[in-house]
């Protein structure tokens, strides 16, 4: 990196810290408000700290019927989608990068085009499809479409990682007598793992985020609902229960944050690998 003069660097560092604080502020405010007692939330001074931290809002959230169940449902849906799409995408990415066959380029272009399909626009046909498959009001109606929507991006992203594994390694494995499936699972899979982590982050987030399908496909059996629905309960026509909304938002955000922090290094290097390819 080119040398930067000292005052400039200090100014840059000060602004980086300020911007970091501004970017983190909404999350800070969310967690803070979740811990504020009701009186403080409604007070006209908006203090950036709390005088009497309380768990009342969290208690209200968890006392809400089946909140824990919604949480588990969300977790189950997101995990199923992550595992299934990672596995399916790994196989597909291997096929399109390490084999030459007719229609290979066509398929790649199809995966690219498939990424552009706005999933929200497909809510109507998917609603009828799920109805015909008997999946309405089940978690399957959330899992199945999300696997399909995560796949094209996952394949496209994993392609770079599979490509980066040297072919000499593959040749050597066969010379040593490894079978094709052994090479696939014991050599290629571990090497591509950082890429799988990066793609998993994307599919986890988009699934965990899902609001539209949960709203449209789980209509009568609320025990199959997911977290966003539990959050909406606190929006009331007379006056929103902001403490409850912030507590529920905190509970919904923390697992994703933890997941992000855990895979953070791999995510950044993963993006680097995917865009370099």
């Amino acid at each position: 990196m080119s040398p930067v003069r000292r005052p400039w660097r200090l100014a840059a560092e000060a602004s980086a810290l300020l911007i970091a604080a501004a970017v983190a502020f909404p999350l800070y405010w969310m967690v803070l408000s979740a811990f504020k007692p009701a009186g403080e939330i409604q007070s006209t001074e908006a203090r950036p700290w709390t005088l009497a931290p309380s768990l009342d809002s969290f208690r209200r959230v968890f006392e809400q019927q089946e909140f824990g169940r919604y949480f588990l449902n969300s977790l189950l849906v997101a995990t199923s989608v992550v595992l299934a799409s990672a596995l399916i995408a790994f196989l597909a990415a291997t096929a399109v990068t390490r084999f030459r066959f007719k229609l290979r380029t066509t398929l790649l272009i199809m995966f690219l085009v498939a990424q552009m399909v706005p999933i929200e626009a497909l809510t109507i046909p998917l609603f009828f499809l799920m109805r015909d498959l008997g999946q309405l009001n089940t978690l399957g109606s959330l899992i199945l479409p999300h696997i399909a929507f995560s796949l094209p991006f996952a394949v496209w992203m994993l392609r770079g990682f599979v490509k980066a594994v040297p072919e000499a390694l593959e040749e050597a494995a066969y010379i040593d007598g490894a079978s094709r499936s052994r090479f696939l699972w014991q050599i290629l899979f571990p090497l591509v793992f950082p890429g799988l982590v990066a793609t998993s982050v994307f599919s986890f987030i988009s699934t965990w985020n899902d609001f539209l399908f949960a709203k449209s496909f789980i209509i009568s059996d609320t025990s199959q609902s997911t977290l966003p629905m539990a959050l909406l309960v606190f929006f009331k026509p007379e006056e929103n229960d902001w403490g409850g909304i912030m507590a529920a938002s905190t509970v919904m955000t923390v697992p994703v944050l933890v997941f992000f922090v855990l895979v953070q290094r791999r995510l950044v290097s993963g993006l680097g690998g995917a865009v370099k390819d």
């Binding site: 990196m1 840059a12 810290l17 908006a46 390490r98 109507i124 072919e167 539209l212 992000f260």
Partner: protein
């Protein structure tokens, strides 16, 4: 290309591809076909419940849609709103990526962590928090700015601006992290040589870094266009289903309201088809850009 895997492997790639193709065929291609089909039918609550037979209406639904001034207004709002989001996200993301390369470890880690936090926040909770920050009665923003009980979601433009802030907040991190990874991949000697030759920072960015970052910039731009064009949750939650009298509707929310709130599934599908075609056009531009860069598919 790997000769070993290729040897005697006629069916193997298809075996590997089979699960992906089954899933995509059943849950993506078939629904797209259905979407197109429904947009040509008379399909309302009566047909859904089986009370009346479905009839083919040809282009009638499209005629109705294109004859509705609200559709054009929503289309225009969607395009302008998406464009504003993309420009803001890209400029902030790139500027901060460059900033990250200029600072030492501690400020860099702080900014990186804050950005990852915003990125990880689910759209729905991000929306609720931003609405709360700007709440006329209990939000800190009005207090600090001394705006009293000014309502941000009441006016059309201020409501769009509020949603834009949330969208930029949660999507600039993807651009920042990706572009930062790209800058780090540029060999240091190249930049050193440029600065030894007396090039200014702006010049180095324009003439050395930007061209090397082109492929990455194309990827993040296209991803942003796609994401911002089909925003749903933020608008739905922050403006309560599309704003007062639908003033903040974008195509996705408009389609949802038509289909699920007023049971006009055919009109909703026709809007979906229009969105699909617009995004397809964007994809074709993207493919051409990739081709021109000589990317091997």
């Amino acid at each position: 290309m790997s000769t070993a895997l290729r040897r005697g492997s006629g069916w193997t790639p298809w075996l590997y591809l089979a699960p992906a193709l089954v899933v995509l065929g059943g849950l993506l291609v078939y629904p797209v076909y259905q979407l197109g089909l429904i947009s040509f039918l008379e399909y309302t609550q009566a047909q859904v419940s089986g009370g009346e037979p479905t009839t083919f209406k040809g282009l009638d639904n499209y005629a109705t849609l294109f004859g509705d001034p609200q559709f054009w207004q929503v289309l225009l709002a969607t395009v302008l709103f998406a464009a504003a989001c993309v420009v803001a996200t890209l400029s902030l993301g790139c500027a901060l990526a460059v900033l990250l390369t200029r600072v030492r470890a501690v400020p860099r880690l702080a900014l990186m962590m804050a950005a990852l936090g915003a990125w990880a926040t689910p759209a729905i909770t991000g929306s609720t928090v931003w609405v709360f920050l700007f709440d006329p009665d209990f939000g800190p923003v009005n207090k600090v700015l001394g705006l009293g009980d000014h309502s941000w979601t009441y006016g059309r433009y201020s409501a769009f601006a509020l949603v834009l802030l949330e969208v930029v907040w949660c999507s600039f991190p993807f651009v920042m992290v990706t572009v930062y990874a790209g800058i780090r991949a540029i060999p240091g000697e190249v930049l050193e040589a440029a600065s030894l030759d007396g090039a200014s920072q702006w010049r180095i960015w324009r003439s050395v870094m930007a061209p090397m970052l082109r492929p990455i910039l194309v990827v993040v731009t296209i991803q942003s266009v796609i994401w911002d064009f089909k925003i749903f949750t933020q608008i739905y939650v922050m403006t309560n289903g599309g704003g007062i009298a639908g003033q903040n509707l974008v195509l996705n929310v408009y389609a949802y309201q038509k289909a699920f709130a007023s049971s006009q599934y055919s009109l909703g599908s026709a809007i979906g088809v229009v969105m699909l075609l617009i995004l397809l056009a964007v994809t074709l531009v993207y493919l051409r850009l990739l081709r021109r860069q000589g990317e091997e598919l």
